[in-house]
């Protein structure tokens, strides 16, 4: 039994390292923060972490299948722009129309109210998922390398976002914004459950920030079942040895499509949250690019091999949190914020170096190039 624990520990050393790194950094941060260890700080951190954590999860799945998805930031941005039209929360609904080639096309009215918001959320997530599905189909049926396929589709998705929001704007329902970006207590008070959050049994958990709860729910309800499904197993197998996976009769094409589709879904979740958090849609190209690159960095810090086959989206969440905590430090220690990329880069280098130690054990140097 002890054997098993030791084996599991060795195999998950990457994730363990990321968790420890995060724990140490976050404790230091809270000690240094004047209002450390308070719900307010936690809520603020949660809001700042969520979108990147989602993108890190999104990036993990294609990387496990040894592909890189350069469109996750673009999908996030596009979904955010859609959300700024669909989640306005106006009771009478939102009239939608399309202006293209000088034509004015009425698209009817998107329903308002609570049911309208729920529908809007579903539509936004569906758009993200569809974008990922398209990526997967292009990679599999177009036989195009993932990195270039998603570079192209990413540009297309950004184009759609710019078409939707040439300038930042739009509106998100205020209650939705309040409920999703604060503590569980605020959430309950806004949607009027558990006696508006005053129920006595609810008090011990009321301080937990909603984004963390969402993160855990998505991880448990989407990632864990996926990892334990045959399709999820096939994704790992494809990333580990595609030839062997084929010879074992695994559904390789479906696994790759599933990997990119799931990436689209996660990226959609991130975009949806970002729109809710900022109460607007913004086709911000530099931001999309930065999120994509940070998602790759998070995946690596979280112990997933860019060669595919090993790692986990859970590790990537911690990778994203490590990156974010580094930026928190800049706020409290009053370091010039311009130095931030420098430090993030150094941390990334250190994390990758640990992962590269195995190279020293290779006995046939020709294998390094295969």
């Amino acid at each position: 039994m002890l054997d098993d624990v030791a084996i599991r520990f060795r195999q998950n050393i990457g994730i363990v390292t990321a968790v420890l790194l995060f724990a140490v950094l976050y404790l230091l941060y809270n000690f240094a923060h004047p209002k450390g260890f308070s719900s307010a700080v936690l809520v603020q951190n949660g809001d700042e972490i969520f979108a990147l954590a989602m993108l890190a999860m999104a990036q993990t799945v294609p990387v496990l299948a040894s592909g890189l998805d350069l469109s996750v930031g673009a999908v996030m941005t596009m979904v955010g722009c859609f959300a700024s039209y669909l989640l306005t929360g106006v009771a009478d609904g939102t009239p939608l129309h399309l202006e293209i080639f000088g034509l004015h096309l009425g698209l009817g009215t998107f329903p308002g109210g609570v049911s309208g918001i729920l529908l809007g959320i579903a539509v936004c997530l569906a758009i993200g998922t569809l974008a990922g599905f398209i990526n997967g189909c292009i990679v599999v049926y177009g036989r195009i390398q993932p990195i270039i396929a998603t570079l192209a589709t990413g540009a297309v998705y950004i184009g759609i976002a710019l078409f939707l929001r040439p300038t930042p704007g739009g509106k998100i329902d205020e209650d939705l914004n309040w409920a999703m970006t604060n503590s569980l207590g605020d959430f309950a008070a806004t949607v009027h459950i558990f006696d508006d959050g005053a129920a006595s049994w609810f008090a011990p958990v009321a301080w937990i920030p909603v984004p963390f709860v969402l993160l855990i729910l998505i991880a448990l309800l989407v990632w864990v079942p996926f990892r334990r499904s045959v399709l999820g197993r096939a994704v790992y197998a494809v990333g580990s040895a595609e030839g062997a996976a084929y010879m074992s009769g695994l559904p390789i094409d479906r696994a790759k499509i599933a990997a990119f589709t799931l990436a689209g879904f996660f990226a959609g979740c991130g975009g949806l949250f970002l729109a809710i958090q900022t109460s607007s849609g913004n086709a911000d190209i530099p931001q999309a690019g930065a999120y994509t690159l940070n998602s790759i960095a998070s995946v690596v810090i979280g112990g997933t091999s860019l060669l595919g086959g090993t790692g986990s989206a859970i590790g990537s969440i911690f990778g994203a949190m490590v990156l974010r905590v580094i930026s928190f430090f800049f706020r409290i220690f009053d370091i010039a914020p311009l130095l931030q990329p420098l430090f993030e880069g150094l941390i990334l280098l250190a994390a990758v170096s640990i992962g590269a130690l195995g190279v020293l054990r290779v006995k046939n140097t020709l294998e390094l190039f295969r």
């Binding site: 599991r8 010879m247 090993t310």
Partner: protein, 515 residues
Amino acid sequence: MPDAIPSQSAFLTLSGISKRYAGVRALEGVDFACERGKIHAVLGENGAGKSTLIKIIAGVVQPDTGTMRLDGRDVSFATPSAANAAGVVCIFQELSLMPDLSVADNISIASPPRRFGLIDARAQRRRAEQLLAEIGCEDVNPLMRVRDLPLSRRQVVEIAKALGKKPQLLILDEATSALTSADVEKVYAMLARLKAEGVAILYISHRMHEVEALADRASVFRNGRHIETFDKGKRSTADIVQLMIGRDIAAQYPPKPARETPKPVLDIENLSWDRHLHQISLRVGAGEIVGLGGLDGQGQKSLLLALFGVLRGVSGQITVEGREVRPASPAAAKSVGIALVPEDRKTEGLMLPMSIADNLVIASLDAISKGPLVDRARENEAIKRAIARLQIKIGAPGDAVSTLSGGNQQKVVLAKWLMTDPKLILLNDPTRGIDVGTKQELYRLMRELADQGAAILFYSTDYDELIGCCNRVAIMYDGRIVRELEGDDLTETNIIASALNIDGATPESSGAAHA
């Protein structure tokens, strides 16, 4: 004609199967059958068509012509999984395991036990433990990643994975090559059990004593044809070797000049590496072509790589022209005058999209440069000389090297190294996939280089070629040199006998007997 086997008792029947790869014949008009409850050995030299045969049966490749019947029904397998579904399971030489997944994951990869639609990790683990216990290898922890297991244990996992598919026809392709002798015994016991249960077993092995111990029947293949099938005990080992060799039209080889003991260029003492090379001692003199023979994968390639500085952790002594060297990289090997024509010319020998000219000078840039800049005039001069010397047929030197035929590509690889003026030339199966005409040019060139004083170490899978080209051939088996053949001893029968290690001689005794 192969002996007919009564078709009513056959479980698998192949009729008229042919297969060509890019115009090269791999199988031609093969009729073959095997029965339930029998272990059927498939024998043949390297390239006799055994691998293609089992790939067709296992659904990895499709035959060009011919039919296959399984259990009385016509079948054709489009994929390995279709073959698996019909009960045909193959344990391949190249492992089909996914290194990053655990042993339990790998064993149940195709159809894992499920609960509520999700993989049931606990049931999967029990299943792995059960299957591993069946072959007596309980020591493998199913949680371990395959990557972290030694090769012999991976092979065990591969066998357990195949067993888990409940095979009706089990194909073992050199499946015991990496096993320890204790594990081999366990695998034998498992095969006997499967045989008793009525499973048909196809067994491919180069170990003659293994075939003798296990097989109820054997079929010999040669040059893509099924030569003969016979029952156990009907043929002596010598007969079988003769059947495997057959008669071939010999290629033209340049004459070997007689010479006295040459000045040694390469002197290897007790070279060992990892688990693949053991205590190798070998000398190659100036003007000598020394062959490396034996079955595929007995350490010949590793030996060449070790000399070229590719391998880490090599022990022993390497002396080149009286100076002890220990090349740490191909660059270091190059600087002491060693050249290697590598195994795969497309990935290791050439930069395919680059031009012929660039490829030719890439190893000798320092010789044609002034300071940091390449001297264009000297470069063009060198390129012209190389192309003329090797008679490489090209359009223009600026064309991509990928536009050349395989033979001419190989000439470019060789020419590239000749420009460095090597003292020791290592050749890793340089004539593979090359037409006969170009082969003869290469043989002539090798002899020419030797005559100019180079020492050549030449690995080839083609025994005929070794006999025709080499002054001396060292036969390797299991990472050791088991015998050195020279002069009149250098015959195909002797090569095959030593390659199969039929007398089971320990390297010490046979080496001593021949020293």
